[in-house]
């Protein structure tokens, strides 16, 4: 036995089996406010948690992270009390750590493969990442990285979601002139209009964007590319050398059942946009209204459904139901979100499928008819298929219904372009580096993959940024070579 292994063996004995819990708001209180649910680790807790990491020789956690953060590297720095160093270490790979530490599905990415997870709870990597990023920001210790001198090349980024922000951040430091075009009046994409304040304070998103602005990224708001300006014009008339498309998914699906047009029936996109982006939760201080239901039915079982349900609760609902057609084990939402929803008193109506909605004389929804379901054979997704139970119906009196059953690719931009290959669902076809079939056009994030995660969108952005840089550098080399030859 080598010294190293002996040491590791010795240390294994000391392993603390469980994660240090993160202090959070009492469910009874927080269900009435929009403040963030978890408070985050204190330095003491962070250090204690960091010490749980056994600093594996082959850290599997790194492979589990879509952007390959040096996880043991930054955890070691936290353990040694160098919190700012830890934050900077993370930022070598991930420019939005305060966001990812909060919303990454760690339990299926970095933490699931953590060596400790085989026998114990994994190291709380996400919480530590959040801690380091918050520490750096809250203490005003954020430093701007060194930028390469301007290289004279211009990049247009369409959409300011995590994919677009990452591309912008990576290319600006390489000396490019970067402009982000955003359809809304605020940046951040789903981070701003989808994920609610109590899970991701908008101040954090704004600060991450400010950081990019300080680096020199230009943001053009209220520009719907494909309408106000086309991609073709960006490339041909406005002198951009390359365009990155990161416009997200952005088209809501409805159930297609009678009564869905009634007032008080929303897509989750509309409900969350009204509340988060337009701040309808602060109506009438803000002008945008929102229907506040007493009894609310949210249809669907993913993260979006949990966000909508917990928002409805905070907007004053007494009863909030999650209506989902499969059973609890198939719920696609993160375990943490389900747990938080349950703690706050959300009621799960499982194996239930809505079939019709009824309205009052004003055309507002008042009742929803559901059918009971049971699980049959597994379908192509490997999950057991929900099958309607003949004749088993019941109704729920409700005054607000939110449809959160996913969405599709918004065709507004893609159909304005020629020569851009799409798949049968309307998503842009791009290779692993984000290159599309259109020349000098890259794409990444939800518009390529369909609804996925923040970190995957960022990962796609990183690869595209690197490839754009490679492509334009190679091209420049070739051009200067051919110039020499022809002379």
């Amino acid at each position: 036995m080598s010294g190293n292994e002996k040491k590791a063996k010795k240390e294994k004995k000391k392993i603390i089996p469980k994660k240090n819990p993160m202090p959070e708001q009492d469910p009874k209180v927080r269900r009435h406010n929009f403040e963030e649910v978890p408070y985050g680790y204190t330095p003491e807790l962070a250090q204690k948690e960091a010490e749980r990491c056994i600093m594996c020789k082959k850290p599997l956690c790194i492979d589990g992270c879509p952007v390959n953060i040096d996880i043991p590297g930054f955890i070691k720095m936290i353990a040694e009390g160098d919190y700012v160093g830890a934050a900077r270490k993370i930022k070598e790979e991930n420019c939005l750590p305060a966001i990812c530490g909060r919303v990454c599905p760690q339990e299926t990415q970095c933490e699931i493969v953590c060596t400790l997870a085989k026998k114990f709870e994994p190291v709380a990597i996400g919480r530590l990442e959040r801690f380091a990023a918050d520490y750096e920001r809250d203490n005003n210790l954020i430093e701007l990285p060194k930028k390469l001198p301007p290289n004279g090349r211009k990049i247009a980024v369409v959409g300011s979601g995590p994919a677009g922000l990452t591309v912008a951040g990576d290319l600006i430091v390489l000396g490019y002139e970067v402009t982000i075009y955003e359809a809304f009046h605020k940046p951040g994409g789903v981070l701003m209009y989808g994920i609610p304040e109590f899970r991701l304070p908008k101040k954090i998103v704004e600060e991450e964007v400010d950081y990019l602005k300080k680096l020199g990224v230009t943001l053009e708001f209220n520009q719907v590319i494909g309408k106000s300006i086309t991609v073709d014009e960006l490339l041909k008339d406005m002198g951009y050398n390359a365009v990155f498309i990161g416009v997200g998914a952005g088209l809501p699906s409805f159930l297609g059942i009678p009564g869905e047009e009634l007032g008080g029936v929303y897509s989750a996109n509309e409900y969350l946009t009204r509340s988060n982006l337009m701040k309808a939760f602060l109506f009438p201080e803000y002008d945008t209204p929102i229907v506040r239901g007493r009894t609310v039915c949210v249809v669907g079982g993913g993260n979006v459904a949990m966000d909508a349900a917990r928002t409805a609760l905070r907007l004053g609902a007494e009863n909030v139901y999650i209506v989902y057609r499969r059973s609890r084990t198939e719920l696609p939402a993160r375990e943490e979100e389900i747990h938080h929803a349950e703690e706050e008193g959300i009621i799960f109506k499982l194996l239930t499928n809505p079939v019709e909605m009824y309205g009052d004389e004003r055309g507002m929804v008042k009742r929803i008819k559901c059918q009971e379901m049971e699980l049959g054979e597994p379908d192509e997704s490997g999950r057991r298929r929900p099958v309607p139970k003949e004749g088993c119906y019941f109704t729920i009196d409700t005054d607000l219904v939110i449809i959160a059953i996913g969405g599709q690719a918004n065709p507004l931009l893609t159909k304005s372009m020629q020569g851009l290959e799409l798949n049968k669902w309307g998503n842009i076809v791009a290779d692993e580096n984000g290159r599309t079939s259109a020349e000098r056009v890259w794409a990444g994030g939800d518009i390529v993959t369909g609804s996925a995660t923040v970190i995957e969108a960022m990962g796609a952005g990183k690869k595209a940024a690197a490839d754009i840089h490679k492509y334009l550098s190679d091209k420049e080399k070739q051009e200067s070579v051919s110039w020499k030859v022809s002379n």
Partner: protein
């Protein structure tokens, strides 16, 4: 931020606003609309591009004060700024050869009808306009509309100017007298109820009738589904599939119900705003 170049009240509660928006002016076509936010805490509302000047890089909006957002807009003046302006959105009007077209404008509908009538006439169509208002003092842009019409009929509800009655009445007569079937298309733009009745009027004559729907919107890009309407039994989004639809296929009662979803909140919001700014 978008700069207001000109702003004036045309008639009581109807305002004209000229905005510096070169990118939008360069692309604007009849039928397009924009989304406007007067200030950061404001709401996003759609307004039709009533005119555009590509050389000067300006667009013209005409709006009627009906609630908080339009009230806030009405209180802004030249050289002040709008917080946000997005566009041009929606499909432009299809400018085709119809022979003769009847352009029916109810109230504020004169604003969106005008550029469409102009383009249809430039295309070689004979244009008959029917412009209606509640009273004489609410009529605006009569000369503009007349200048792009071969025939221009004005109605007022109370008979204070032109014909007494509703716009659907002369429309019906014109169709009845059109024995040669010269009228290939009718445009009807105005309040939902007026568009509904114009569509009912033209239906027995089998004349294609195009209406521009004014549903409640948020993003205007097909992302939220809040502007959904039912046309010919199908659910469509006004902002990206419209705003113009075949009036014979629109479920008008549904549109009108959906326009009233926020009635209570809108009143609360306006009362609060008026209190804040100290009455009128």
């Amino acid at each position: 931020m978008t700069r207001i170049i000109e702003k004036r009240e045309l008639v009581k509660d109807i305002h004209e606003m000229v905005l510096a928006a070169p990118l939008i002016a360069a692309k604007a076509q009849p039928g397009h609309f924009v989304l406007v936010m007067p200030e950061e805490k404001g709401e996003r509302i759609p307004l039709t591009i009533a005119d555009y000047d590509r050389d000067n890089g300006t667009i013209t909006l005409i709006f009627m004060v009906v609630g908080t957002t339009t009230m806030k807009l009405s209180r802004l003046n030249a050289s002040e700024n709008l917080y946000a302006l997005v566009g041009p959105l929606g499909h432009p009007s299809e400018i085709e050869d119809h022979g003769t077209v009847a352009m029916v404008a109810g109230g504020i509908g004169t604003a969106p009808i005008y550029p469409i009538a102009r383009s249809l006439r430039e295309r070689g169509n004979r244009v008959i306009s029917i412009q209606g208002a509640r009273r004489e003092d609410l009529l605006f842009w009569t000369e503009q509309l007349a200048s792009v019409s071969d025939e221009h009929i004005i109605t007022t509800d109370d008979g204070s100017f032109g014909r007494k009655g509703l716009v659907s009445e002369p429309l019906k007569e014109i169709l009845e007298n059109d024995k040669e079937k010269r009228i290939g298309c009718v445009y009807a733009i105005g309040p939902a109820i007026m568009m509904k009745f114009c569509s009912l009027t033209t239906k027995p004559f089998g004349v294609k009738t195009i209406t521009s729907l004014n549903s409640v919107m948020v993003d205007g890009t097909g992302m939220c589904g809040g502007c959904r309407v039912n046309v010919g039994g199908k659910t469509l989004f006004t902002c990206v599939d419209g705003p113009e639809f075949d009036g014979h296929l629109v479920d008008w009662d549904l549109l009108m119900d959906r326009q009233k979803i926020y009635l209570k909140e809108e009143k609360c919001s306006l009362d609060r705003y008026m209190e804040e700014v100290g009455g009128k």
